[in-house]
């Protein structure tokens, strides 16, 4: 007879160990999955996790690492703050899109002017776009007690339609011979978000992600607001008695995650993606949920988790070209990782006891 016995406090050792264990378990289960697809399992896992860092073409892949990790970390940091408080923003994908559209729209309005002030302005409006889109579920939750999970998620589909409408209509490149998609913002000097240090892939999004990690760390460990967020998540009643205003917390958590997601979208738009097009969004907003959990909702953990998931993206692309692995297998792989992680979380919250419970 196996029983679970609740620990008085979550084990810190297990909390640190479980992500590594989960990654390991995912490699095994993923290997089995690839074997079932008729691909060499060991080679597939090596292509995904090892080659991008230490393989023959690592010099190319290493630069991609930061490019992919930046949006993931940026979004996941914002999400983790809300998740800590029990406020579930799962519509980061939509906030990412709207941030890019609003920021990009402001940038295009200045075309073809030049000026140092344009890029900061564009960045600001990117954040505002994401923030505003997240304010919809936030205000509905505060005013009408509407479930923020469903509203934020449904707004993703609305944002995707707006994206389609923008790239086919309002923001379409007038010199684009009728092709859908906006002007290229990374080719327009005033809004370009270039690689800052050659060969590293580090653009302004990477800088922003690093700053976000530091600020989130200070907020969660040193600031009273971070304490209130943690209390609200773990003991909502205690938080209310101690005078935490739950409405303000909802507005803050959704606002900050929306703004960061908007920033991520904007840096992607002005850098790697270049233009607003129908397939601009690539699911970073959803993958960031995995990143947030894999990083234990802790800023430093999220930084590491973001790099790891970025690695699976790059490795997945490599495996696609080298081994003919379907691109969707990486999505399944990432989902599997989250399963294992949640399953192993049990170890940090509970002790496993063998034998029957003694009667007290």
């Amino acid at each position: 007879m196996i029983r679970l016995e609740r620990r008085p406090a979550p084990s810190r050792l297990w909390a640190a160990l479980t992500p590594a264990l989960a990654v390991f378990a995912t490699m095994i289960a993923g290997g089995l999955m690839f074997a079932l697809l008729g691909k060499p399992p060991v080679e597939a896992i090596r292509t995904i996790f090892w080659d991008p860092l230490f393989g023959e073409f690592a010099f190319y892949y290493r630069g991609q690492l930061l490019v992919k990790a930046a949006p993931l970390v940026l979004i996941a940091i914002g999400l983790s703050i809300g998740f800590r408080a029990g406020i579930w923003n799962i519509g980061a994908e939509g906030q990412y899109i709207i941030g890019a559209i609003l920021g990009g729209g402001v940038g295009l309005a200045f075309y073809p002017m030049t000026g140092w002030y344009i890029f900061p302005l564009v960045v600001l409006f990117g954040a505002i776009g994401g923030w505003a889109w997240a304010m919809i579920p936030a205000l509905l939750r505060v005013k009408f007690n509407t479930n923020e999970i469903l509203v934020s998620l449904l707004l993703v589909y609305v944002a995707e339609q707006i994206l389609a409408s923008m790239s086919l209509g309002l923001l379409r490149n007038p010199d684009g011979n009728g092709f859908p998609g906006s002007r290229n913002l990374s080719a327009y000097e005033a809004t370009a978000n270039p690689e800052l240090i050659a060969g590293t892939g580090a653009h302004w999004g990477v800088v922003a992600a690093t700053i976000a990690v530091i600020f989130a760390y200070i907020l969660m460990t040193r600031h009273v607001l971070g304490f209130q967020i943690k209390v609200s998540g773990e003991a909502p009643r205690a938080a209310r008695f101690s005078g935490v205003n739950p409405d303000r917390l909802v507005i803050f958590c959704l606002g900050i995650s929306g703004a960061l997601a908007g920033l991520a979208g904007l840096f992607e738009l002005t850098g790697p993606a270049g233009q607003i097009s129908i397939d601009f969004n690539q699911g970073y907003g959803f993958t960031a949920i995995i990143v947030a959990f894999l990083g234990r909702l802790h800023p430093v953990g999220i930084l590491l988790a973001g790099l790891l998931i970025a690695l699976t993206y790059i490795g997945g692309e490599a495996a696609q070209t080298n081994l003919g692995l379907p691109s969707a297998s990486i999505d399944a792989f990432q989902g599997m990782l989250l399963f294992f992680l949640l399953a192993m979380d049990t170890l940090s919250n509970f002790r496993i006891r063998f034998g029957r419970a003694k009667v007290a």
Binding site: F144, L155, L342
Partner: protein, 310 residues
């Protein structure tokens, strides 16, 4: 714009078809939530059902086996959720999201070799006399069997929850799991059964999309239907007949906007396409704004972790 191109008989008939996937998924989720479990993985289970059903139907040539496979696939996927949340006591919101993310990836992976194939057609159920009635026959009695299955399921879920002992136990577990446990009911077992029923229903709903409504396999084809099903359960305040109403309302909006697109209304296509989602949000807001109603109707233990020793 030419509104006369919209045929009312076809309109009603297509509303029924458009509503069925969401109705099936929402009914399953209704039972799950009545047992006190919030499974946010409906979208993932639906799309898994869609590809399982599609693959089996194409390979065997039998839509019936396809639907069976879809139900089994959805149930197996939901069992992962069940074990994680009920045995390993993981957070239900996070696990549900994991289920959706995994389901979307997994289905895309399996579905790669099925893109662009047409599934075998599902036979229409011709009911003698009724199907031949003018107007009404075309509207209500000229559908495939799954439409009637979904309607029968509404009655079954309603009756079981309201009149039977099983329904009473299920509701007891959902309202107060500690009391139910003290009375000797197996809380975890009841919830696992409910979760698997929910998974099977979501799978059926997904297969209805890929085998009948569309009928084709495309990646991410559920396009938020699972999330709308979750919203409809809230809209229906956890009652089967109201869930039926909600699903048909949603189906109505979907079909209407498609018809308006076809009729060439002067609103851009994208804005019409987003209308079902916006209306779902609006309905959610209206429902939750009426103070206390949703909270009173929701099962008291919804989303709470049950651990026998505490």
């Amino acid at each position: 714009m030419d509104l006369s191109s919209i045929n009312p008989v076809l309109l009603v008939a297509s509303i029924m078809v458009a509503s069925t996937p969401v109705l099936l998924a929402a009914l399953g989720e209704l039972v799950v939530e009545k047992s006190g479990v919030l499974n946010l993985g409906v979208e993932g289970m639906m799309i898994t059902g869609a590809i399982c059903g599609f693959a089996i139907a194409v390979n065997t040539g039998s839509p019936f086996l396809g639907f069976v496979a879809a139900a089994v696939g959805g149930a197996i996927l939901s069992l992962i959720f069940g074990i994680l949340t009920q045995s390993l006591l993981s957070n239900q919101v996070a696990t549900g999201l994991a289920l959706t993310l995994f389901g979307l990836g997994f289905s895309a992976l399996v579905g790669q070799s099925y893109v662009g194939i047409r599934p075998p057609a599902t036979a229409r159920l011709d009911i003698p006399v009724l199907s031949d009635l003018p107007v009404v026959g075309g509207m209500f009695f000229n559908h495939d069997i799954m439409v009637y299955v979904s309607l029968a399921l509404v009655i079954a879920v309603w009756a079981v929850l309201k009149f039977t002992r099983v329904g009473l136990i299920l509701r007891a577990v959902g309202e107060n799991h500690d009391a139910a446990h003290a009375l000797g009911y197996k809380v975890v077992r009841v919830r696992l059964c409910a979760i698997m029923f929910g998974g099977a229903c979501a799978g059926l709903g997904g297969a209805y999309l890929s085998l009948i409504r569309v009928p084709q396999w495309t990646e991410g084809m559920t396009a938020g239907a699972g999330w709308i099903a979750l919203a409809i359960v809230v809209f229906g305040s956890w009652r089967a007949p109201r869930v039926l109403l909600g699903a048909y309302l949603f189906g109505g909006v979907t079909v209407l906007q498609l018809n308006l697109q076809a009729a060439g209304l002067a609103i851009p296509v994208e804005y019409l396409s987003m209308s079902p989602y916006l209306i779902t949000i609006a309905v959610l807001v209206v429902m939750s704004a009426s103070k206390g109603r949703v909270r009173a109707a929701a099962p008291a233990c919804l989303g709470r972790i049950f651990h026998a020793s505490t």
